[in-house]
Amino acid sequence: MNTPQKRFASVAACSLMGAGAFIGIDSLVPKPINAAGASSFYCGQASGAPATLAKTASGKSVPVIRWTSSTFNSAGWDQGKRCQVVSARFEQYRKQGTLQYLTTGRMNGQAVICTATSKGGACEGLLYTLKPGQNPTKTLADLLDVRTKAKGPLNETTTRLYLKMSDVINAKSGITPSPATTEALW
């Protein structure tokens, strides 16, 4: 995010750019390369909920999974505990180098996301258990998308934009609803 501080620093450092500068010129400066080339994982908060976060080499905190489901609470696994335990597993598997072989499988009769030790290998290390009815293949695809694709799903409690299709079909002018106060997930 182009924070005001960053913009201010850019303008101050690059007076050549003049008063109209609004582009963070410092993003042109190469960032130090982390030889390990991977983030570290920890449990934190994202949009008011426990979340597994990745801290990137350049210092960004990026939500990976936001723990909002109470499905496992009765089994003693509330959102906070799932966050702590799964984030620790993420970090452990990162260090072991097995995160690159994520797959789906079953453990104790439940569908899980897990690691394998080789491409196409068997499900070995439990990452986390899926909710009953959750589609393992789609969940895994979504998780793999998080790795590098620059999209973000919305917070479950996001204020959505309200608009009737009929208003658009019969529109006489551009529709300008009140600004969305969206707090997004990723």
Binding site: Y162, M165, S166, P177, P179
Partner: protein
């Protein structure tokens, strides 16, 4: 900072462009699709509507995708159906269409393929981070790939890309669209990549690719538009379609 100062003169023209009336901002839209969030660029006006390019991976499996323009106008849009040959091409691109209103929207100027080069060029990536307002991220193209990656990814550049900027524009110093964002640098965890041909990317190349944003070159956008124009008349939003840009009830 030496590099920054050296290039500051080169982008002086861009830096003094006011945010209001900025054609890059005006043609870049926010996309909400199911529970997904991304960006897109208005690339064409025709038949009472506008066409928006974005990444396939931004779109959820829903009928209506909500767009928000730079001046906060909201439009429901539909995905333009494309034939099988295009689907087989497997590029991570999709076209949306929305109905025009009295309010004018700005269409991005598309670079001609011969206007893009393999040189190191200044670019500005645009988009709407999931947790913030519209941003512009300057960077340099760093030609690394002689062959496209899986998803058709073939444009590598140094702009700092955040989650939510997928489908946003990559513009050159003349405000021409030269590509579309797709992935950010610094993958959250390591994995291998594949070329479109199915061959594995070498470990050395993979490490280089970890350090750059990767998107799709304008060439692929132009090809998609051309094919779509040949097979499709104006896509129409069905009035019977679930009638709003929200899953929540209103009023």
């Amino acid at each position: 900072m030496a590099l920054g100062l050296a290039t500051a003169g080169a982008i002086g023209l861009l830096a003094t462009t006011p945010a209001v009336g900025n054609p890059r901002h005006q043609s870049t839209v926010r996309i909400r699709s199911g529970d997904q969030h991304g960006s897109g660029v208005i690339v064409k006006q025709s038949d009472g509507g506008y066409w928006v390019i974005t990444n396939s991976h931004v779109l959820s499996n829903v009928e209506l995708h909500c767009l928000e323009s730079s001046d906060k106008a909201v439009y429901p849009s539909v995905k333009v159906p494309l034939d099988n040959t295009l689907e087989k091409n497997n590029a991570d691109l999709a076209l949306l269409w929305f109905k025009a209103t009295v309010q004018q929207e700005h269409v991005a100027t598309l670079a001609e393929p011969e206007e893009t080069s393999d040189a190191i060029d200044l670019v500005i990536a645009t988009g709407y981070p999931a947790r913030g307002d519209y941003v512009e991220r300057p960077g340099l193209t760093v030609p690394l790939l002689s062959e496209a990656l899986e998803g058709g990814y073939d444009l590598t550049y140094t702009s700092d890309i955040d989650k939510g900027m997928s489908g946003g524009g990559v513009f050159d110093s003349h405000d021409r669209l030269v590509g579309i964002n797709a992935t950010h640098q610094e993958p959250l965890w390591r994995t291998s990549r594949q070329y479109k041909s199915g061959h594995q990317v070498s470990e050395t190349m993979n490490q280089k690719l970890d350090q750059v944003a990767i998107g799709l070159d304008i060439q692929q956008v132009l090809e998609l538009l051309k094919s779509a124009e040949q097979q499709i008349e104006a896509p129409m939003i069905n009035e019977n379609t679930d009638n709003n840009c929200s899953s929540a009830s209103e009023e």
